[in-house]
């Protein structure tokens, strides 16, 4: 009896695990991000970032004065809901975020006025699919 009642629970757990983890294909998401970067604005690809940790991921990059940067985000949600990026400058001050006015945006763009080491924090919010990619591009 105990075994029979345990089975549906175990199946449910397996299904939940499958939904959360099994469909993560960062390469597919990277390509999605690159497509956004290329199609709209003539930015040149620089780096790509995988975000597959429920706690989010932190990366740093040395942005260069005078360059225009764009970061596109991609996840499995058509309107990008659930993932966002926040950028902090070398003084640890927040300079940009793709989650603003209560909305998740698929891209942010900014002109760097000070060369330095910047931190990019990729975070998840209101989602149970912890798989996303960020793509950094630049134009002069």
């Amino acid at each position: 009896m105990k075994t029979i009642s345990f089975l549906p629970f175990a199946l449910l757990m397996l299904l939940a695990f499958d939904i959360v983890f099994a469909q993560c294909d960062p390469e597919f998401l990277k390509q999605k991000g690159i497509k956004k970067l290329s199609e709209e604005s003539g930015y040149t690809f620089l780096k790509s970032y995988v975000v597959d940790d429920p706690k989010g991921k932190k990366y740093s990059y040395i942005f260069s004065q005078g360059a225009n940067y764009m970061i596109t985000l991609a996840n499995y949600n058509p309107d990008n809901k659930g993932v966002y990026i926040t950028i902090y400058d070398s003084n640890n001050q927040k300079i940009a975020s793709s989650f603003t006015e209560g909305k998740f945006f698929p891209a942010i763009a900014f002109t760097c006025h000070r060369t330095g080491i910047y931190q990019m924090h990729f975070s998840f919010e209101d989602t149970n699919k912890f798989c996303a990619a960020g793509v950094l591009g630049m134009k002069r």
């Binding site: 199609e39 260069s64 003084n91 975020s97 945006f105 698929p106 942010i108 330095g116 591009g137």
Partner: protein, 290 residues
């Protein structure tokens, strides 16, 4: 009974140690990967050079035929970095038909020599090159280099990854200095001066991972380059501007931060500092590509 408990405890301790050491290798690999990712792509400088209206000059590059000369891992890894920067420069100028295949071949030759072949998807790269898909091409070559780095870390040879990175950076600095010498340009000089920030990140990495006399010597030489960079003063204002607009770029909604021109960092250097950077970095590069 006592024997069984003791054996159980030993197995437990051993399995804990093995898990722990695996985790620490993974952590170390992730930290190193993130550090490698933080160094600016050589494409930034190539792009700046091109957008300054300066014509392509293939004579500055390390000739692709040199690849066959490099017979030990130290030179192969450094020159793999150098050729990757050269390939980026070639690609930015869209010289894919002529020079790009030659530089790709050099990269494959050196990768074979380092036993990290099969990580470069030559077919896909060629397809992107033929269809003039620059971002596809850049993304595929970047992914290949990320795989090479990961493979070197997995093979317990992270020092080769650091050498690749150093070679790539040194070539970027060399190309920019050469262009700035031939076409004096304040913007290029400022970007050269700012390489101080990048070298500050590379030196501790080299120090942590250096192995053998050759790497030790390279570390000392880059330290002497760092002494030249120390004369450059970069001051940054402690102010962040968060003014943004939401714009529609085609189908894409983008949060655009304009920033403030007045926030620019001030970079103080003399023209002789730039000349010294050129002389010192060229001397280091010459020993590597010889």
């Amino acid at each position: 009974m006592k024997y069984k408990v003791l054996s159980g405890l030993i197995v437990l301790v051993l399995s804990y140690q093995s898990t722990f050491s695996q985790e620490s290798v993974q952590d170390r690999s992730e930290v190193l990967n993130n550090l490698l990712k933080s160094i600016p792509s050589p494409l930034e400088m190539s792009s700046l050079i091109k957008n300054s209206g300066i014509k392509f000059d293939g004579s500055m590059l390390n000739p692709s035929k040199n690849a066959a000369k490099y017979q030990d891992k130290y030179f192969r890894a450094l020159n793999l970095g150098i050729f990757s920067t050269d390939l980026g420069y070639v690609n930015i100028y869209k010289n894919q038909d002529t020079l790009a295949p030659a530089y790709l071949q050099s990269i494959i030759t050196l990768s074979n020599g380092l036993n990290i072949n099969n990580l470069i998807n030559f077919t896909t790269i060629t397809q992107y090159a033929l269809s003039n898909n620059l971002n596809g091409l850049l993304s595929e070559t970047t992914v290949s280099f990320e795989k090479i780095n990961q493979e070197l870390i997995n093979k317990q040879e992270p020092e080769l990854s650091i050498l690749m990175l150093t070679g790539g950076w040194l070539e970027t600095l060399y190309l920019t200095c050469q262009v700035a010498k031939a076409h004096p340009n304040e913007v290029l000089d400022s970007r050269i001066a700012e390489q101080k920030i990048v070298l500050d990140k590379i030196l501790p990495l080299l120090n942590s991972y250096k192995k053998g006399n050759q790497m030790n010597e390279l570390y000392l030489e880059l330290n002497s380059l760092n002494e030249v960079f120390k004369k450059i003063k970069i001051k940054q204002k402690n102010k962040a501007d968060q003014n943004f607009t939401i714009e529609k770029w085609g189908d894409l909604e983008v949060v655009v931060y304009q920033g403030n021109e007045d926030d620019k960092s001030s970079i103080k250097y003399k023209s002789e500092d730039i000349e010294n950077i050129l002389t010192t970095s060229s001397a280091i590069r010459d020993k590597i590509v010889k």
